[in-house]
Amino acid sequence: MLKTDRTLFNEWIEEAQNGNREAFSKIVKIMMKPIIAMTYKMTQNIDSAQDLAQDTFVAAWQNLATFQGKAKFENWVYRIATNKCLNYLKKEGKNLPLDNHKAIHASDDPSKEMLNRELRQNILGFMAQLPQQQRLVFELHFYKELTFEEIAQLTGKALGTVKTLYREAIAKLRATALKKGWHR
């Protein structure tokens, strides 16, 4: 996000906190894609991912007053999404309703879309095998580019634990890629 965008974004947050629904809708529009990407990778099911994303934003609206600006707004929303995902996974247990990693975004370029689909299949298949906490830390650090410190703050875990979870996840990713030969 550019600096000017960030300033504008912060203004929307302030307006939304004052009850401006239009400003909140603008925030939702910007954050919807990364939130669905997160809930999709966590749950492996596009319908559940969309439901969880919706729940996340409704909860965000209802709790906007509690956001004090100590952390980034995005991280605050990620925390809500994280809780929603973990609760979902707790309820669903190990029986994740996999949906064969159907496309959530159809590219105009067929060859590009084919590569995208392959990538999604590889990554989602790999992430499905990870324990929930490793999956979450991998998602937040690699894809959402949160620092380990931010993840520790967001998840309430010790910094060392977060680093260990990430290291283990990457070691497994490397082993999976070597075994399946999909990183060459």
Binding site: M32, P34, I36, V58, I104, F142, Y143, H183
Partner: protein, 182 residues
């Protein structure tokens, strides 16, 4: 820094271009770790980015509208929580349960009353009429008398005999083995 430490550290820097100085220094000196780093970098590239998992704009638009609608409904009280829905059904459920309960009790009470009436010999009726109606056998008579006496504990036998007509007694003597009881 040895190779094991270097490769452990490289896992933490997966997907990042900037490395700490001590790592960079080791990589310059160690071909094995350099190769490991290249492998890791290739893997990071193959892992894509968050954008690879983004939904299309139409989906986003649809979801934004859906969220807007949900918040609208919540603020206007059109959506109630599961707990509230339950609350609204509690009085109805209680009324239904009460109605069924009272009906059942009433039914059982009436049923018991009918049985009692059928099993009890009424003082005003003659024993013959009772036995004829019920088509009783000889073996049933002691039980009928017993039932009668249990309901009319004082002078039951006298009452029974007193209420019988001569015709009743003759009928009994003729058709039932009641000599000992009477």
């Amino acid at each position: 820094m040895n190779c094991k430490q270097c490769q452990n550290q490289l896992l933490l820097y997966f997907g990042q271009k900037e490395l700490p100085e001590d790592l960079q220094k080791h990589l310059l000196e160690c071909d094995s770790c350099k190769k490991y780093k290249e492998d890791i970098d290739a893997l990071a590239e193959k892992s894509g980015s968050d954008q690879n998992f983004y939904p299309d704009d139409a989906t986003v638009e649809q979801m934004v509208n859906s969220i807007d609608e949900t918040i609208n409904n919540l603020e206007h009280g059109k959506i109630t929580t599961t707990k509230n829905i339950w609350h609204s059904y509690i009085p109805t459920a209680a009324a239904v349960i009460l109605f069924i309960g009272l009906s059942l009790i009433g039914y059982l009470y009436v049923l018991k009353g009918n049985n009692h009436q059928q099993a009890t010999i009424n003082n005003s009726d003659s024993l013959i009429v009772q036995t004829e109606n019920k088509d009783l056998s000889t073996e049933d008579l002691p039980f009928l008398l017993l039932e009668f006496t249990s309901e009319n504990k004082e002078n039951a036998n006298d009452l029974l005999i007193d209420n019988m007509t001569d015709e009743d007694l003759k009928y009994l003597e003729k058709n039932f083995n009641v000599g000992e009881i009477l």
